[in-house]
Symmetry: C2
Subunit: 241 residues, 2 copies
C-alpha cells in the first residue's frame, strides 16, 4: 500500500489522528527533506528517503517503485497532499505506468485553512485557490483565473504568491484584481503559519507591502463585504444580525 | 476563551490532535445536535448545549454569552469551522456586540478535501468553492460565480449542491457550466464522506444523475485536463512526465 499523507502546516497538533497513526505504523517514509524534519520524532527505526526541492517526480517514482515491490510506503506532503501536493503526481504516474498498487490519500489541513483560522474568518463565503507559480501553469491561464475570480467577487487565496525567482507575479495579480476590487479591500497574509516564526498581518490591497511576502506565505484577498476588526478579517456569511 | 472547532467530515480519525485535546479539556460544548453526536464519546461529564438546524445564530449567541461570563466554551462545526461554518458568525457577533472575549479558531478538514482524497486527486490545480444555497447569497451572485469559474476553467467544488427545498439549483449550475465545459468533463461526487454509508462516484457532467445527490454530498467538477482512471478523477498538476 502507498499512503499519500498531508502533514498540515507543520505543527504536529494539526496532524490528523489517521495521518499520525499511519506514519507510525509504516516502515518506509519518502519526502522532501524539509517536511521530513517536521515529523522526525515519529521516524525512529524507519527507512527514510528524502531529497530536495524540484525532486518531486523522482521522489514519487521511488515511492511507487517500493510499493510495486510489495512494501508499505508513506509519501508526505505539507498541507493537504491533494492541493498542489504529491497526490496528483502519484496518481498521474500510477495511471501512465499502469501500476498495480493500492494508493490511499490521507487528507490534511491546507495552508489556506490554517491561515484563515489565525486571520479570523475570511473564507466564510465562496472562495478560490490560485497558485501564482507559472512553472507548471502558463501565466496567461493564471492571469485569466485571477481576473475571473476578482470579477465575480470571490475571496481569493493566493498560493506560492512570491519568491526570489518570481518577485513580480504578486504585483501583476494585484493589478488585475484592482480592476474589480477596491484598493481598500481587506487582505490577510499568513507567513509560516503554525510554525514558531509565524507572522500574520491584516491590511488592505493598497497598503500591502509585497516585500514582506515570501515562499512560505499565503495571501487571502477578501470580497467586497470582508471587513477588518481588531487585527482580524471577517467575511460575512450572509446572516441577518 | 471561546474555541471554534472544525470536526472534519465525521470520522474521529480525521480530527486533528489539537481539536481533540481542546474538546476533552473544555467543560462546555455547544453545537448542532447532529454534530454533537459525532463526538459523543468525548463529552462525558460536560455541559452539552445543542439545538437544531437553522439555529446557528442562537447557538453562537449562547456560546458567546457563556464565554462572556468567563467560562471556557467549545462551539463545533463539521468540516472546517471557517468554511460555511460557525467561525464567521462568532466573529461577526463578537464584532457587532463589541464583546471582550478571546476567540480561537481550530482548523479542520473541510468536505472538499476529504472528498477529494477519496475521489483521487481532483484539486491538484486551481479550484474554487461555491455554495449553491441561495438562503444567504442571492442566486444572481452565485450564478455569476459559477459562470466565472467555468469560463476560467477552475476545478469547481459545489457545497450544498441539492436539497429537497432546492432541487433545481444544481441543474441550473450545470447548465451554466456547460456553456464553457464539455459534457464529457469529469465529475466526482462524495456523499457522506468518511462516514459508514459513504458513496463515491466518478462520472461526467452528461452522465451525472442529480437524484443521487443530496444535503450530505459534495460535487467536484474537473477542469479540461481532468481525467478518469479506475474510478478515480485526476487533475494533472502540469508536470512533464
Amino acid at each position: 500500500m502507498l499512503y499519500v499523507i498531508g502533514l498540515g502546516p507543520g505543527d504536529q497538533n494539526l496532524l490528523t489522528a489517521e495521518a499520525r497513526q499511519i506514519i507510525q505504523q509504516t516502515p518506509i517514509i519518502v519526502g522532501y527533506a524539509t517536511y521530513i524534519k517536521l515529523v522526525s520524532n515519529l521516524l525512529k527505526g524507519k527507512t527514510v528517503i528524502q531529497n530536495g526541492m524540484h525532486g518531486e517526480v523522482e521522489r514519487c517514482q521511488k515511492a511507487l517503485d517500493l510499493a510495486s515491490e510489495g512494501q508499505d510506503v508513506v509519501i508526505i506532503s505539507s498541507g493537504d497532499a491533494g492541493i498542489y501536493g504529491m497526490a496528483g503526481l502519484i496518481w498521474e504516474l500510477k495511471s501512465k505506468q499502469q501500476l498495480d498498487i493500492s494508493v490511499k490519500v490521507i487528507p490534511g489541513i491546507t495552508a489556506s485553512i490554517a491561515a484563515a483560522a489565525h486571520l479570523g474568518a475570511p473564507l466564510m463565503n465562496d472562495f478560490c485557490h490560485i497558485s501564482l507559480s507559472d512553472l507548471m501553469t502558463p501565466w496567461e491561464v493564471v492571469a485569466q483565473r485571477v481576473e475571473a475570480a476578482a470579477q465575480a467577487d470571490f475571496v481569493i487565496c493566493l498560493y506560492n504568491p512570491r519568491s526570489n525567482h518570481r518577485p513580480h507575479k504578486l504585483r501583476q495579480a494585484l493589478d488585475i484584481i484592482l480592476k474589480y476590487k477596491a484598493p481598500t479591500t481587506v487582505v490577510g497574509v499568513g507567513t509560516d503559519v503554525a510554525r514558531l516564526n509565524e507572522v500574520d498581518q491584516v491590511t488592505t490591497i493598497a497598503d500591502l507591502d509585497e516585500t514582506t511576502i515570501g515562499m512560505t506565505s499565503i495571501v487571502i484577498i477578501g470580497n467586497k463585504n470582508t471587513y477588518a476588526y481588531q487585527g482580524k478579517m471577517i467575511t460575512p456569511r450572509g446572516y441577518q444580525l
